[in-house]
Structures are given as C-alpha cells and as structure tokens.
Symmetry: C2
Subunit: 415 residues, 2 copies
C-alpha cells in the first residue's frame, strides 16, 4: 500500500543522479555549473509533464504550481535544492526536491483535490560553494539576503550570479519572494548525522536547528630559531593555539549535552620546520540550541584563549564573525508530521538538527517543517553519503502524506 509509486520514484532518483554523477557514486553538481543547469532543465520538464505552472524568479529559484480549489488560499511550498557540494553525495538536497516532485505526482495519480495550491521549489545555490553565502536562493526569497547584492555576487573567476543565471537561461522575471507568504513550507533532507541510524528509526521530525557562533582567532607570539632557543624564552603561537583546540573540544562535553565545537580552519606562520611559529590563526564553530549556552560558550572560549596566552606569553585577538540564533520550526507542522508518520506507519523521533537548511530561512516567514531520513554513518558532503532505500521510501511516503494534510487535500485512501 502507500501513496507513492516506489518504482517511479526510484527511477526518477536514478535518472537525476546521472546528471553530474561521479565515478565514486556521488554528485559533482555545483550551483549553475553545466550539470546543475541540465538537472534544472530536467526538473522543469518534470513539472511541465504534470501541467504545473512553472515560474523562475530573478535569482533562479524554480517553482511549479498546482492550483487548489480555493482561489484565496495561500499555497503550501515544498522542496529543497538540486545543487551539490563539489564531489558531494546524491542525497543532500536532491532527495528533498524529488520527494516534493513525487508528492505532486501522487496528487496527480489520484486526482486529489487540495484546497490550497501546492508549489514545488528548487532553491538556487544552497551549498554556497561557487557563490557565497550558502542558502542563497531561499535567503533571497525570505528577505534575509538583498536581491541586488545576491545578483552581483561573483565567483572566483569574477562571473556574477546574474551573469551565470543569464548564461544558463535561469535569470527569471518573477520577482523574488512570495506575493503572499505560503501557508506552510515542508522540506525533506538527509540527517547528515548519526542519530536516526544509531536509534534504528526511519524519520526525524525536526523541531529546530542549533544556534551558532563563528569565531576568528589570531594568537601572536615570537618566531625564533628552533635550536638555540630554550623553552623558557619561547612564545610559541602554535603551542598556545593547540591548548585552545583541546579546550574547545572539551567545552563540547562540558557546557551542555547538545553542544558541538569545531576548529575547522587552522594555519601557522612562518611555517618553517626549524622556526618557532609566531602566528596561529584559526576558527571556532560552536553550536547549541540554547542561546545562553552559545553565549556562555563564546565567553568560555575567550577565557581559554586568555589562559593559554598567559601560559605561553602570547597575545591574541578574537572576533565573532557570525552569530545565528536557533531556528524553531512550526509546532503545528511538527504535529502534522507526527500524525502523518503515524498514518504512514513510520518509526520516528522528534529531534534538533545541527546544520542550517533552506527550511531555516523559510521558518522566518511561514510555518516551516523539516523531516530527516537517516544518513548511513552520518556521512555527508562526500561521495560516500548514503541512505538506505527503505528509509528513503518511508520519508517520501510521509512527505506525500503530510503535503496532502497541509494542503487540505482529500486523502486518496479515504475516497
């Protein structure tokens, strides 16, 4: 039983996955690269095959609209992104767009009437690899990013997003943002973490996304010859920075259960085998759902840097370059997802996500919901990214179920 056509869904997933496929089974489909343009064309074809009204906005977000019975009702927006990380996986983003496409196909299969229109969307440049920042299309749609700024953003070769969209045929003329805010937004995504797999569950109903702080730190010491400099004379920027890396890791277990901390960028200068480093620059990524915990974390990191610099005779600067509050998804949409999961017979848990998604921006303007399917070994952003097909099907089934509920549709099982 079930709403979705499993065979069709799988063959669609496989056909889309051929566009930009890597030898190792991943996807290399960076935003507005040749394969990203080809997959957009394929997506538009699929929307048109369903007689959806296709529109492309000025930043290249692509929408396919299926009308509802109530001309005054705000639409339900469903989708994700088709671009990938460089040598990324086949599930991140693509699975959400294709689950949304399948949901609308289900509506067509059963001639389901919905009171609300349903719109399928592919957001431009979620990954932010070629054009920065990430979440570009959804951020422009919700007003978080200025449209002109986004359009004039250049890649490393100086090509602007506007030029790349023009060349690709995806510089649309629809204004960016909704004429009226959608009634709800729903997105399916791979978890990109280990929780669902570890707990043996099919579905994560995401109640929110961790808040986050990004810090830039520079530690300054003295460079000296590694041979004739006794330890007591040294002010080694790397020794102090290594202390901080260890301390930052320890904060993850200390501040609160959900805190994760990462030092991702790390460089030393002058970087010569027999010269004591005089400079270490690094970043700190600190996340927690609780905003006071994030603040306490930033303060704890600075105290650790101070202590490390005291010990080593170095000095430091620390700058917070980004702070984002946690995202709280719509409790109503979470309830719909829970009822849909019960109806679809899926195993699930409510959970907090660790990374931002297009749904995070949509939560600023509408009742947004996000559901996760498991990631094997929690792997993401690489070609080994994988989700068991039984889990994919459970997610797509629940997604179709929830879409009908959110759009006030007559459930085909009840007709």
């Amino acid at each position: 039983m079930g709403l979705i056509d499993k065979k069709r869904f799988r063959s669609t997933f496989e056909a889309f996955s051929e566009i930009g496929a890597t030898d190792a089974g991943g996807l290399h489909r960076v935003a507005l690269s040749e394969p990203d343009v080809r997959v957009r064309d394929r997506f538009v074809d699929a929307l048109e095959d369903l007689d959806l009204a296709v529109r492309v906005d000025e930043v290249g977000n692509v929408f396919g609209r299926r009308e509802g019975t109530d001309p005054d009702a705000a639409p339900v927006l469903i989708g994700s992104h088709l671009d990938s990380q460089p040598r990324g996986g086949r599930f991140d983003g693509q699975l959400g767009v294709l689950s949304a496409l399948e949901a609308v196909r289900v509506l067509a299969d059963h001639d389901v009437e919905t009171r609300r229109p349903v719109e399928v969307v592919n957001w431009t440049n979620e990954e932010g690899t070629r054009f920065k920042p990430a979440l570009m299309g959804s951020g422009a749609y919700t007003g978080a990013h200025d449209v002109e700024t986004v359009l004039s953003t250049a890649d490393d070769d100086g090509v602007t997003l506007a030029e790349a969209l023009e060349a690709a045929g995806y510089r649309g003329d629809a204004p960016v943002g909704a004429e009226r805010d959608p009634h709800a937004y729903l997105e399916l995504h791979v978890e990109q973490g280990p929780v669902l797999e570890d707990r043996g569950l099919e579905i994560g109903i995401v109640e929110g996304i961790l808040g986050m702080s990004w810090l830039d730190v520079t530690i300054s010491g003295d460079s000296d010859h590694a041979g004739p400099s006794p330890t007591y004379t040294r002010a080694d920027a790397l020794v102090a920075a290594a202390d901080v890396v260890t301390a930052v890791r320890r904060l993850a277990g200390r501040l609160d259960d959900d805190v994760v901390t990462t030092v991702g960028e790390f460089e030393v200068a002058p970087g010569s085998i027999n010269v004591i480093p005089d400079t270490a620059t690094f970043t700190v990524d600190l996340r927690s759902y609780d905003e006071e915990t994030v603040q306490a974390g930033v303060e704890a990191v600075e105290r650790e840097i101070e202590a490390a610099c005291d010990r080593e005779g170095t000095s430091y600067t620390m700058e917070e370059i980004w702070r984002i509050p946690h995202t709280e998804f719509s409790p109503e949409v979470c309830d719909v997802l829970e009822r849909s999961a019960d109806a679809a017979g899926c195993s699930y848990t409510r959970m907090i996500g660790g990374a931002g998604h297009d749904a995070s921006y949509l939560a600023d303007v509408t009742d947004a919901g996000l559901l996760f399917v498991p990631s094997v070994d929690g792997k993401t952003h690489n070609e080994r990214e994988f989700t068991e097909w039984t889990d994919v099907l459970a997610g797509a089934e629940l997604f179709a179920e929830a879409t009908i509920r959110l759009a006030d549709g007559e459930h085909p099982g009840n007709s």
Copy 2:
C-alpha cells in the same frame, strides 16, 4: 690596549652593513642576490688591500691567504658567511667574516709572522634560503655535499647555483675542498639564544652542537559537517594533532635539561570553518646533545601520537626525514680559546650550541672551534637581531688572539 683597531673594525662593520641594508636596520642579502655579490666584491677588495692571495672555488667560496713562515705547515682557516636571511640581521654570519678579516689586519698591523698560513673564508650560501640546503659552501668544501649536485641545485625560478655564480663572476676555478686539510678552523658567530645575555657573559666557547631529529607526521581522521556530528562520532585530525603539539612541548622539559622541541610546520585539510578536519600534517624538530636522548625523544613522540590517535579514532604516519648526530668541537681549540679569553680578559663560559654552523661541517675534517658573542633577547633571523658593541669588540679581540695562537704566531704584545 688590545690587538684590534676598534675604530677600523666598527667602520668596516658599518660599511659592510650598508650593502643590502633594510630600513629597519637589518640585512636583506640572500645568497648570490645583487647585494650579496656587491658585498663579496667589497670583501675581495679588502683581502687584496692586505696583499692576500685571493682564490674562489667552483662553488663560490672565497679565500684570502696570508702565507706563514713554514712552507710545509697546514693553514689555519677562519671565517663565516656574508649572506643573510631574507630581512635578517646584521650580525649573523657577517660578524664572523669581519672578525676574521680584522684578525688578519691585526697580523698586518704588527707585521706578525706566523708559522702557519692564515686563510680568511666567506662560505657560499650558509642560510639556504634561495638554494637549499643550508651550509652549502662549507658542506661542499668538507665533502658532505656533492659538488655537481650543489652546482645543479636550482632556485624557485629554475636558475642553478652554477648559473647564478657565473652571472655574479664567482664561479671560481679553484677545486672545491682543501689540497690538504687545514690545521684548524675557527669561527665567531652570534649565539642566537639567550644564555650569554642571561648570565652576563661576553663569550661562549662552544664545545659542541646539539644533535637533531626532524619528523614528518600526518594524522588522518574523517571530515564531517561541524553541525550535525556529535562529538562521539568524530575523528578530528586537528584535535589529535593538538594533543601531540602539547605533548611534544612537554617532552622538552621531561627528557633532559638540554632538550628543545618545536612544531614549526602545521597544516590542516580541508580547512573549512564548518568542516571537521580529516588531515593534519606537521613537523617535529627535536634536539639534544645526547644521541640516546634524541632517539628516546623520537620514540616518545611516536608514543604520544599513538595515544592521541587512540583517543580520537584517527590514524597516523610518521617519518624521520633527517637525523644528525651532535657536533663535538676540538677540545684543543677550546683550550686555545679559553687561554685566549684569559689573555684578552674576557668573561666566558663553555657551552653547547643549538643550531648548525659552517664550523659544524669543518669539524668533520679538522680541529674546529666556534665562539659565540651574546644575542640581545636571543633574537636572530630577523631585523631586530642585535649584539652590544662592547660584546662584539670582546669577541673580535679574542678571535684575533686565538688566531695568532693557532697559527703559531709571535704575539705582538711579546715582541
């Protein structure tokens, strides 16, 4: 009193220091750069003014020979290097060459007859910045480096040492290496460390140079998204490497009194603010006079890497890329230096040096000696490198005194 002409010595030092001078009071006189060629010309002029027989060997080492009274006696070789680090200091190397020049001028001033010939030398490319490795000219002279290999060594622009020497007019025709090994070699150098300044002494009589091991280490973990990856799932190459940096520092105080340890190169990949590093590569420089301690240090570093990798779930490779035994300078030359210091009324200590010098290679083929003058704040390899002029004069006086003794000269004070 005293042998040297203090005013002449200082004016010579200042004139030489103008060649390649930096605004900040340092020297930028990389081997066979335009200023290095100019200072060589100035050096040859000074040798010729003393009627010394100048010869240039195939790798550009420049010698000025003053004959002795005994035609069968092996010469005493004295000198150092005139090239500098990029934006380096005025004392490192230059002070040794000019002290040697002053010693021969003292011989001329007083018509001192020595039984042994005295040769003043400027070694090519001690610093090893443009052409690698360091200690190139002295290493070729003593047979540690193959002459053809040295001549075909290219800089970053593909220019070989042979071509650079040819263009500079310093591709000599004298064969590299002595017809017969010198009777002794003597070099004055700045300490490049804090010991003499801290102890308020003018002179260090260097009995040896620390042995050394250089290690290349790579730690491999897993890259993952910084948000949705709980700490228990991580294998963070940087966290493990930071543990090792801390442990390597701790070994300096633990293994033995004279042990110094440095991590100088350190890189992580992929190096993105929200991605857990999967690779950390770094070097370890570990020095001690005792060779068993160096060996124990290498083994201790590997145990620390193993422990860090065990904790973090990472793996590693470690390769020893260079091991050099300690240098032991000639006890006889040390005794001559000590008697000369007593005669010159200098305060001194015997000590062990931390870094290699041209004298280290010379110790392989002759009775070599090295004397240090203090470095203010232990600074070297930068423009702030400084030695108080009173200490410079004490060193030059002792150097002239010792040169006469080593060459079996009639001391002018005794005539």
